[in-house]
């Protein structure tokens, strides 16, 4: 399970809304207990470096990735995952998401539509390189 603190969640949703209709992206930081329960306490907004059309793809540059790892060290947190938005699409990982996904990371997807209908869902790769949904315990979506 994963808990997303209000401040972190608000920043990610704000990023998804402000970046619409392009995809936004960034890092999620927090803590994890021995049962792999996670708490997202902080985020870092990152520029979507995908060349060309950003409405259906995102990319984080290697230099930004290094900054993300350093941010975790500087703030004594663990880099727990990546968030990105799916403008006008459900918060379900695509095949592109799956093929690019790393083990260990939580992948939070923010579905955002023109009417600002927002849905958050989180996913993690299992040992068969398929996504399993990770329950967000403090979030209800309609």
């Amino acid at each position: 399970m994963i808990i997303i603190e209000d401040g972190a969640r608000n920043l990610m949703v704000e990023d998804a809304v402000n970046t619409f209709p392009d995809e936004c992206c960034g890092f999620m930081f927090g803590t994890e207990d021995e049962k792999e329960n996670r708490v997202i306490r902080d985020i870092l907004v990152v520029n979507n470096s995908k060349p060309g059309d950003k409405t259906r793809r995102f990319q984080i540059s290697p230099l930004d990735y290094m900054k993300g790892e350093q941010y975790a060290i500087d703030n004594n947190l663990t880099l727990l995952g990546i968030y990105h938005s799916h403008p006008k699409h459900p918060a379900v990982p695509s095949e592109t998401d799956r093929l690019s996904a790393q083990p260990f990371f939580s992948y939070l997807i923010i579905s955002v539509f023109e009417n600002r209908e927002i849905t958050l869902r989180s996913w993690r790769l299992n040992d068969s390189s398929q996504f399993d949904e990770e329950k967000i315990t403090n979030y209800q979506f309609s």
């Binding site: 995809e23 992206c25 995908k50 409405t55 259906r56 793809r57 995102f58 990319q59 984080i60 290697p62 230099l63 990735y65 290094m66 790892e69 975790a72 663990t78 880099l79 727990l80 990546i82 990105h84 799916h86 403008p87 699409h89 990982p93 695509s94 592109t96 998401d97 690019s100 996904a101 790393q102 083990p103 260990f104 990371f105 992948y107």
Partner: protein, 92 residues
Amino acid sequence: MATVIIPTPLRKFTNNTARLEVKAGNIGDTIQQLTTNFPDLKKHLLDEKGQVRSFVNIFIGNDDIRNLQQEKTAVKEDTVISIIPAIAGGVK
């Protein structure tokens, strides 16, 4: 000894170690040592042909080895090597 920085998602394959010391002449030797010492790392770094996966970036400082001499890029005692997973995705 050169230093290799392991990214967070791959640390479970290096006994949760973030920084590893290697004695190697170039990047190819470095990867060889890493995958010998931590076999579970191999499939995440190398493809079926034994080449660095396209989803994996290897940097020396701020320079991508693809812009240097790739696997033949020299490694010195004070070289800091970062393994950086390519982070990407999207709706389609």
